[in-house]
């Protein structure tokens, strides 16, 4: 893995200044002041004369696109399905098998099912069945007096609930399977017990647990999704749940393979409150925000940080990023005057913006201390650990997550005798000495500087003028195709990121991966560039970008897994 080369002669140092932006920024208006001149095409100024393209060279990993893996429902999808369809409290998260990640986002992809995991599914289903017993007649009403009549009741239930549970009508074989189970149970159990057994059997069926995608072609074949599969994929993505009646009706009419009909559904669904949780889960996974509520700051070193504040610090960054997604310009993730504050948060930041209990939006001047994601305390604390500050973790985060840089693991077996830490010098000097060795600098060179720019924020994410008695030097420069800037401090770094073609391409890559459950590769460069251009022309609206992604042919098809012959 190599870094974009530094040998390109087109170096336009962005003489960025800490100009306060108008806090009323709307998506299409100029956001940043910089030598690039134009707001929406800040990156293209650096490519004068070259073929304009929003994706920096070498940004996408080489190779053919990997197929979206067959996967099970995640915990939240399973729980939402139980809540929405069976209208009963879902099992707690921990009662279901663990979620892992697929390319950085929560998923069950590529995870083997173990006996212990299968036991959890079984126990969860049996528990739901038992809790349904007292009200099973509401769910599966039946006044029949003989077995044939009862079977007809169950058959009717399977017909009406099947599409929501299996995200398509159940097949004859599936009807027969569950009816046979009912009949067998009914020989020794009551109607209620046997009916709940049918629910339990449906809940452990592979047809429910696995999200069925078209398959059976040759590896590498592009197979179109049918209308039911599009509905399932759309609903699981936008609502984290099974399709609702309206979406199923559209699926039944076979409409969802058409872009126009799909657009109508997508518009409707994006307006629904259920997308809030989805958008938040996107940022939680991308930016690691789920760690904030559990932060254990060192109370001896930071007695002013009350533990109770962790939830509000989490809400600050979650609400901020969701706001950027829903109605603002993506570049405002890095730089804006918008602050989400409660009275307690205002007290922590010392900015007097709020006397309210809840965390809500306020507008203020952009300043060195407060300007966007990289100045938010909860977020910064997730990268702090138990050290005075952690430029290494912060820098690696910016490189990997905000610029989508690919860092190799430390080479195995390499044991580098680290020099003793010099006392009485700044953290920056310490780390620079510590990682200067040839074995270290290959990787650390790619991210140390990004972290040094943030050094005015301490472990608790609050501003410090100096590190104790030591001066802090936050001056760094970058000369890469996707990031050329000479900056001093976190605000200027953020402005450079907002102007960085790599950071924009990274946002496209993150949302692409979230929506399509696979990483884009160089074989899809043309489409990826197209996405980048429409992102730009929408005023960098992440919501518009997500819409574009789910309306794409790629969202409505799947590449057959397996290595191409």
């Amino acid at each position: 893995v190599s870094w974009p080369g530094k040998g390109v002669s087109l170096c336009v140092a962005l003489a960025l200044t800490a100009t306060a932006c108008n806090t009323e920024t709307t998506p299409n208006r100029p956001l940043l002041t910089g030598s690039s001149g134009s707001s929406n095409t800040a990156g293209s100024a650096n490519h004068a004369g070259a073929t304009p393209g929003p994706t920096p060279e070498g940004f996408l990993p080489e190779g053919a696109p990997r197929s979206a893996p067959l996967r099970r429902l995640t915990r939240s999808e399973y729980r939402n399905l139980v809540r929405d369809v069976l209208e009963i409290d879902p099992p707690p998260e921990y009662a279901l098998p663990e979620d892992w990640t697929n390319a950085g986002f929560r998923s069950t992809a590529d995870e083997l099912t173990t006996v212990a995991a299968a036991t959890r599914y079984l126990d969860a289903a049996l528990d739901i069945g038992e809790r349904l017993l007292p009200t099973i007649h509401d769910l599966m009403p039946c006044s029949a007096s003989d077995l044939a009549g009862e079977l007809a009741c169950i058959d009717g239930w399977l017909t009406s609930f099947g599409p929501r549970l299996f995200r398509r009508p159940m097949t004859d074989e599936e009807h027969a399977r569950f009816l046979a189970a009912f009949e067998q149970a009914r020989a020794s159990e009551t109607y209620e017990q046997s009916a709940s057994l049918v629910v339990e059997a449906v809940l452990v069926a592979p047809e429910l647990l696995f999200i069925e995608l078209p398959s059976g072609g040759k590896p590498g074949d592009v197979l179109p999704l049918d209308s039911w599969q599009v509905a399932a994929r759309l609903s699981l993505l936008l609502w984290d749940s099974t399709p609702d009646e309206a979406l199923l009706a559209a699926a039944e009419r076979g409409e969802l393979t058409s872009r126009a009909a799909l657009a109508k559904q997508v518009g409707r669904m994006l307006e629904d409150a259920r997308t809030h949780a989805t958008v938040r889960s996107f940022f939680d996974d991308w930016l690691g925000l789920a760690k904030i509520p559990g932060l254990a700051a060192d109370p001896e070193s930071y007695p002013y940080l009350p533990r109770e504040l962790a939830a509000e610090l989490a809400e600050e960054t979650r609400a901020y990023s969701e706001d950027v997604f829903q109605q603002r310009d993506f570049r405002e993730l890095f730089v804006s005057g918008r602050r989400f504050r409660s009275a307690a948060l205002s007290g922590y930041y010392g900015d007097q913006l709020s006397q309210e209990e809840g965390v809500i939006a306020h507008d203020a001047e952009i300043s060195q201390q407060s300007f966007g994601l990289l100045s938010q305390a909860g977020f910064l604390m997730t990268l702090a650990h138990a050290e005075p500050s952690s430029p290494i973790h912060r820098g690696a985060f910016v490189r990997r997550k905000l610029l989508c840089g690919r860092l190799p693991s430390a080479p195995p077996g390499v044991l580098v005798p680290l020099p003793e830490l010099t006392t009485g010098v700044s953290k920056r000097q310490n780390i620079t000495e510590h990682t200067a060795g040839a074995a270290c600098v290959g990787c650390h060179g790619a991210f140390n500087d990004l972290g040094f720019a943030l050094e005015h924020f301490d472990i608790a994410g609050t501003w410090r003028d100096s590190q104790g008695k030591l001066a802090i030097d936050t001056h760094v420069s970058f000369d890469e195709p996707g990031l050329r800037a000479d900056v001093d401090g976190a605000l200027q770094l953020s402005q450079a990121l907002a102007n960085s073609p790599s950071a924009r391409a990274c946002a496209v890559q993150q949302l692409f991966t979230f929506a399509l459950e696979r990483i884009p590769t160089s074989a899809e460069q043309a489409w990826f560039d197209q996405l980048g251009r429409s992102f730009e022309s929408s005023g960098f609206s992440m919501k518009a970008l997500l819409t574009e992604l789910v309306l794409s042919d790629e969202f409505r098809s799947r590449i057959e897994p397996g290595a191409p012959p």
Binding site: P69, L70, W100, A116, A118, L122, R177, L197, A201, E387
Partner: protein
């Protein structure tokens, strides 16, 4: 030790692992096997694993004139009563490790980094390998137990194959229910128990229905995922069947009801309940081995880096930092807290050994005699190691925080006579001065091979073939 909060009356263990009335392995072994095996209990493997490394200068026993003469150190002092069953193995090194060493420790490979929380193994782990060899001998091939947060996304200990982690179960209540066949064996009304069993079986059968059309529609890669699910459900069924026959004659201690409140974080994920949780998982581990429900148990005392575990239950340890934080304090010259944390865990390990020793198996040997207990750690030492020769280039002792050298391995039990215990094995370090100062030693995969040999497997290598394998010299009888 401070009083444990929240140990509810309901959680006081009823019954004891030592009360097994008959030994199922004997019954099942008799019909098919020769008489010579009548009184030979099976060998078991129990891996105890904890994170963050130790303070090696306060851990390593003082060597005497021979390997049987040694004085236990401050950290290992609570294990004095088990010294006759102990083998200390010093100076091994995890050659492939580069952080996230849980992944390396039982696999002998470095890891594949797909970004947090995906640090994937490149091979099967020792415990799972043994479980796979023994599959079918017991209702559960293996049992993986966690305490509080068993994993924090930094990598698991147990891997069934490259990239396939086996998640430890952190709820003792779920473990208990699993051992009791979905809780059915706890139902005292025979008719109701029979109905529940039949009901559970019927649900399982619908999954295994051979008529399922789903697989026919799938390509081979997708089918493999479904097959794996079906195979796991089949495993649930097998467990259920075999547990019914085993449990008739053996007692698993009742852990009581889960005190968790719905809608809140579970009781068993609350850090302050760790002492109670560790006790429960320990009792369940011993019961599962005693009753021969499994022959392989991995008890992960804490996930990699200890998660965010703090200690309000250990004397002399403030809540100023978490476990990981205190391990980094050692490099700043303060090793008091980590030493106390390590010592507390040695006390807990001693209790586990007490339990294993209290079980008498047919033929008169103890369960501990027939078990190999490996006390494993994620890392070696922390901070500068005074007992090492100084680094010839810097003139200072090496700072080995969270490094793979000087792994603090302990073995307990005789593994049915395969291991001679009561010894302190100090293995050689590398020959060059620089490598000696950095404590480069033999590959820890030698220990993994020795353990396999002790358990009766003839493997000559385990993990990355790039390392010289062989065994730990002098370990086996």
């Amino acid at each position: 030790v401070k009083e444990h909060r929240l140990v509810s009356r309901r959680l006081v263990l009823r019954g004891s692992a030592g009360l097994c009335l008959a030994l199922p392995w004997l019954e099942s072994a008799l019909p098919r096997n020769a008489r010579a095996q009548e009184l030979t209990p099976p060998k078991r493997l129990l891996v105890w694993t904890q994170p963050n490394g130790t303070v090696i200068d306060r851990w390593a026993p003082t060597a005497g004139a021979s390997e049987t003469e040694f004085t236990l150190s401050e950290i290992l002092e609570p294990l004095e009563r088990h010294r006759a069953d102990l083998v200390v193995v010093q100076n091994l090194m995890q050659k492939d490790a580069t952080g996230h060493q849980y992944v390396t420790s039982l696999t002998g490979y470095d890891y594949l980094d797909l970004g947090t929380p995906k640090y994937l193994s490149k091979g099967v782990s020792l415990d799972q390998y043994v479980a796979q060899q023994l599959a079918g001998s017991t209702p559960l091939a293996s049992l993986e137990l966690g305490v509080c947060q068993a994993e924090d996304g930094q990598g698991a200990v147990s891997w069934s194959a490259a990239g396939k982690s086996v998640v430890a179960e952190a709820s003792p209540f779920r473990v208990y229910a699993r051992l009791m066949g979905g809780g059915i064996s706890t139902v005292t009304d025979g008719t109701e128990a029979a109905r529940l069993l039949a009901h559970r079986r019927s649900v399982i059968d619908t999954v295994l229905d051979p008529l399922s059309e789903l697989e026919k529609r799938l390509g081979s890669e997708d089918r493999a995922a479904i097959d794996n699910y079906l195979e796991s459900v089949r495993g649930v069924e097998r467990e259920l069947t075999e547990l019914q026959t085993r449990l008739g004659s053996c007692v698993v201690p009742d852990v009581g009801a889960d005190p968790s409140t719905p809608g809140q974080a579970p009781w068993w994920q609350d850090n302050q309940n760790v002492p109670a949780l560790l006790t429960l998982q320990r009792k369940l581990a011993v019961a599962a081995l005693t009753c021969d429900l499994t022959r392989v148990v991995t008890l992960t005392v804490a996930g990699s880096s200890g998660g965010l575990r703090t200690f309000d239950y250990i004397d002399g340890v403030s809540q100023r930092l978490d476990w990981h934080g205190f391990s980094h304090e050692v490099e700043k010259g303060s090793d008091h807290e980590l030493t106390q944390i390590e010592k507390w865990h040695a006390e807990q390990l001693a209790l586990l050994l007490d339990d294993l020793k209290a079980v008498t198996e047919p033929g008169g040997t103890s369960l501990l005699h027939n078990t190999l207990v490996l006390s494993n750690n994620e890392y070696g030492s922390n901070g500068p190691v005074a007992s090492l020769p100084v680094d010839p280039t810097s003139g200072q002792p090496a700072n080995l925080t969270h490094q793979p050298q000087l792994m603090p391995y302990l073995l307990f039990g005789q593994c049915g006579g395969a291991i001679k215990t009561g010894r302190n094995l100090v293995l050689p370090l590398a020959e060059t001065a620089l490598e000696r100062s950095q404590a480069h030693g033999y590959s820890h995969t030698r220990l993994l091979v020795s353990i396999l040999n002790a358990l009766g497997f003839e493997d000559t290598a385990f993990g990355n073939p790039a390392h010289a394998q062989g065994t730990v010299p002098g370990l086996l009888t």
